[in-house]
């Protein structure tokens, strides 16, 4: 067991973790934040994507110990009270999801992309979500959603 300190969705935490525990287990089981999903458990599908230190990670592969001194953002950290984050709102308005299982990871990848690049091209959006499988939508409406969110966040629409 090792004690770690980190912020999760802007709240500071300190707790002890076992060395083999994954960040995904920490988020889902210890904090009950089940918005982050486990799809493949092998770092391929992207359903477990969270932001750690400003970068997206597959939380199923990251040891919880690595969260020490890090800032972590999960899907639950995006809403502001009742108000959806512009990316979330765009996904709702533009039908950026079907079954919704990939959606938290997809939105987190989109956030990481737009935080760095507020005006991405279609190709850059595709690259930004290239680590996230979606079996339902064929990606067209996800890309439209991210593009609309980028515009809204730039103060466009």
């Amino acid at each position: 067991m090792k004690k770690i300190r980190f912020t999760l969705n802007a709240k500071p935490h300190a707790l002890s973790v076992k060395p083999w525990r994954t960040l995904l287990e920490l988020i889902r089981e210890d904090f009950g934040l089940t918005g982050t999903k486990e799809g493949c458990g092998q770092g391929e599908c992207g359903s477990c994507t969270v932001i750690m230190g400003g970068k997206t990670v597959n939380s199923c592969l990251v040891p919880a110990l690595e969260a020490d001194n890090q800032e972590i953002i999960t899907i639950e950290g995006l809403v502001d009270g009742d108000i959806l984050h512009p990316i979330q709102d765009a996904f709702v308005q533009k039908a950026g999801m079907q079954c919704g299982f990939c959606t938290p990871g997809m939105i987190i990848s989109a956030k990481a992309l737009l935080d760095k690049n507020p005006n991405p091209s279609e190709q850059e959006i595709r690259e930004g979500i290239a680590g996230n499988f979606c079996r339902c939508t064929g990606y067209s409406k996800i890309i439209e959603s991210i593009s609309a969110a980028a515009e809204a966040m730039r103060g466009g629409a």
């Binding site: 959806l84 079954c99 299982f101």
Partner: protein, 761 residues
């Protein structure tokens, strides 16, 4: 379109908000106090006798609470038909595919359960296996089931008209062999459930696309009346047919282990279990013999299908039926013969997947038609327009088609600039060769084949004018909840937000056949429409009495209720609801309805009659870039002209088409299980490659409106057509780029590169 307020509008999904915030709970997100974890022990052999299972070492491990083996299910077995119940929750005497479930453990946590499975000692006697369906059909091949000769799991034959006469009338007769690949549905949410067996019976939160299958299976397996089985539907992370339309060993084992321990038991499959053991699309060898006149008219078709069924029958009889029954659309076909053989092998089991059965034979017949047209010098558009059906149409197997937008669809895609410039853009850019191809296909909707097939709906009016809607239909992601709510709102003059849909809970919601065969919007929609009209009728009587008007003249629109032609006699819907619930003795207003269209008897054994209530038509244009050095095919554009009658929510219909086409793209170009003696060599999402955002073009959808006379508001299916149309249009585009016809899916870079090399020499 103007007559509707909610129908036909691009309203956002009603489950959008909970899905983007992470609030939506899926089966694996459920936990109960005292919950145990179930893990399954799986066979290391593809074909073996089970001589002994020693569970004692597992039981001795601290934290293990119960263990079960195949024998604990008392010989119970299940299958799609009474005569095909050949599968048991856990293997009893024999395993028939690699990683088949043999025993299960319940322990205090997941790791302990896993460790316990590894401690169990199973004695096997390995048997020779058979892995190729054509080998398995031969005399003397190893028998997968002792009582089945030549491993024939199911056969299905059709013989309509006179194919020999049709071939005699043809100018050209050609026979080719086609093959479709070994692919899986590809949902990201693995099967999972939390089960509780107590004095009130079974309660289970399970990831199911069609929860009433599980409801019946559990009642039968545990010998309980149906009112003691409660399946509660969490959000479902994709289905696409097959596994989530059936029960899995984990379902039965978690319930049994809960019964044994008195504790709730949870299981979640991992992705390796999904990819090694869950239902796959049948891979099929399809021989197509077709006759064609000089002008492109198809005179006859004889198809022969050999399907790899894997270890068990599952839904295979329906698969075989669909391979033949649907070949008579979307082109006129006066003479048709079909022989389909489903063969047991020691591979993982084949079952339904989106485009069930239809995609295989349509791919073969579509490419065959275009190859023959090419031989006769007929343009791909011309040969399709020559043969496309127009309504009213009855096929040779007596499928009645009431609306068909194939001609309009083909004409629409033929107007695309890329198609018009087809012959001009042949100049290759370096190693890249461009190609454009088309296809035209049909798919059934409102599937009604055999067994229980109807949908029900209950609409409860609340005294404040809001509405509760109970349906047995499951939205596994396709968006049906939103469309069904739109229907209720439309009928009652409300907005979608006034209607609350309850997710399936078999204790409360009306029984439903399931979400398959593109039946939900059509049949659950019909039930919803009737239930809402029932409520409207009851409210109309109150309003008519108040205004001394005819109940038929009461209009419900925009939250108002008024007498037709005299809007001054008007009342808010909310107010009328209150009056109805409170005035006089008061009323409890509950509306109900069920789908009853299409009850005519289908001859399942001969493939004659309507397999669904209506038929969609999909015309599909694909552009590709083929790297002639590496053989890599990149799909650069897709346009789908889809006739779903009338889109009830166009944004949803577009998304369904885009998703289906993308799944079709994956299976055409690269998705494929690599098998070695029954072993899946690529059971992970790195090596089993599904399309990512970089692999897929922007997909445009053109709505072809045909106003089907049967579906609610003219609607037909929208979720499966494009998975059938994508493969032939892609293969046609690759042919345009390379001059080569590829008849086996997937068309991998290796196959393309080899074929190009062969062509040059």
């Amino acid at each position: 379109m103007e007559q509707y307020s909610v129908i036909g509008k691009r309203i956002p999904r009603i489950d959008g908000r909970v899905k983007v915030t992470g609030e939506a709970k899926y089966a694996s997100d459920f936990e109960l106090p005292g919950m145990l974890w179930c893990k399954i022990l799986r066979s290391p052999y593809a074909h073996a006798k089970i001589l002994n299972v020693d569970t004692r070492p597992a039981q001795r491990l601290p934290g293990v609470k119960a263990v079960c083996t195949g024998k604990d299910f008392g010989g119970w077995s299940w299958g799609w038909m009474p005569k095909t119940r050949d599968e048991t929750p856990l293997a009893v005497n024999k395993v028939r595919y690699l990683a088949e479930a043999v025993a299960a453990v319940a322990a205090v946590d997941e790791d302990t359960a896993e460790e316990a499975t590894e401690l169990m000692k199973v004695e096997y006697q390995e048997l020779p296996g058979v892995f190729d369906p054509e080998e398995a059909m031969k005399e003397g091949a190893p028998q997968v089931h002792d009582y089945v000769e030549n491993n024939l799991s199911w056969e299905f034959h059709m013989d309509l008209g006179d194919v020999e006469k049709g071939f005699r009338e043809a100018h050209l007769v050609r026979e080719e062999r086609f093959e479709t690949g070994r692919v899986i549905t590809g949902y990201l949410e693995p099967p999972a459930a939390v089960a509780l067996y107590d004095s009130s019976g079974i309660t289970i939160w399970a990831a199911k696309q069609s929860p009433y299958f599980l409801y019946r299976h559990l009642a039968s397996c545990f010998n309980l009346p149906l009112n003691k089985v409660r399946v509660i539907q969490p959000f479902v992370g994709g289905g696409f047919g097959g596994t989530k339309n059936d029960s899995v060993p984990g379902d039965f084992c978690s319930v049994l282990l809960s019964k044994m321990t008195g504790k709730p038991v949870k299981f979640v499959y991992n992705m390796e279990e999904v990819l090694m053991t869950c239902r796959r699309r049948h891979n099929m060898i399809v021989y197509v013999k077709m006759g064609m006149k000089k002008d492109g008219t198809i005179t006859a078709l004889h198809s022969r299908v050999i399907a790899d069924g894997g270890g068990y029958t599952t839904i295979g009889p329906l698969t075989m039926f669909l391979t033949g029954c649907m070949t008579t659309l979307p082109y006129k076909l006066p003479h048709f013969k079909h022989d389909a053989y489903r063969i047991f092998t020691n591979n993982p089991t084949g079952a339904a997947m989106r485009g069930h059965g239809v995609t295989h034979t349509r791919f073969a017949a579509e490419i065959q038609m275009e190859m023959m047209a090419e031989e006769l010098g007929i343009d791909p558009v011309a040969v399709r327009l020559k043969n496309a059906i127009t309504v009213p149409h009855e096929t040779v197997n007596k499928i009645k088609v009431h609306s068909a937008g194939l001609v309009e669809g083909i004409n629409a895609i033929a107007q695309e600039p890329s198609w018009k410039a087809k012959d001009k853009k042949k100049a290759a850019e370096g190693y890249i060769s461009h190609g454009v191809g088309i296809s035209g296909t049909a798919h059934l909707g409102g599937a009604r084949q055999r067994g229980h097939q109807s949908c029900g709906a209950v609409v409860r009016l609340c005294e404040d004018g809001t509405v509760d809607y109970l349906t047995g239909a499951t939205d596994a992601g396709q968006g049906s909840d939103t469309v069904l709510v739109q229907i209720i709102a439309e009928e009652l003059g409300l907005k979608a937000e006034d209607v609350d849909i309850k997710r399936v809970d078999t204790a409360y919601t009306p029984c439903d056949a399931g979400s398959y065969g593109s039946r939900v919007t059509v049949l659950a929609g019909e039930a919803a429409q009737k239930a809402a009209r029932d409520v409207r009728g009851q409210l109309s009587r109150f309003a008519a009495e108040k205004w001394e008007a005819n109940p038929e003249d009461i209009v419900f629109k925009d939250h108002q209720v008024y007498v037709k032609g005299s809007p001054e006699r008007s009342i808010p819907f909310r107010k009328l609801a209150q009056i109805a619930c409170y005035s006089g003795p008061g009323a409890v207003i509950v509306g109900k309805g069920y789908s009853d269209y299409g009850l005519e008897v289908l001859d399942f054994d001969k493939g004659v009659g309507n397999p669904g209530t209506s038929f969609s038509f999909t015309s599909h244009l694909t552009e590709v870039d083929v790297d002639t050095e590496t053989g890599v095919v990149k799909c650069t554009d897709m346009v789908i002209a889809h006739d779903c009658g009338r889109p009830l929510n166009p944004i949803n219909v577009e998304s369904q088409n885009q998703g289906a086409a993308t799944q079709g793209l994956g299976q055409t170009l690269y998705e494929e299980f690599v098998m070695d003696h029954g072993k899946t060599l690529n059971p992970n999402l790195a090596d089993y490659k599904m399309p990512l955002a970089l692999d897929v073009p922007k997909i445009r959808v053109i709505d072809i409106i045909t106003e089907d006379p049967i579906g609610p508001y003219g609607a037909k299916e929208a979720s499966e057509g494009a998975i059938v149309s994508a493969p032939p249009s892609i293969v046609s585009a690759i042919h345009d780029a390379t001059g080569i016809w590829f008849k086996e899916q997937p068309v991998t870079p290796e196959k393309v590169a080899m074929a190009l090399k062969k062509k040059q020499t």
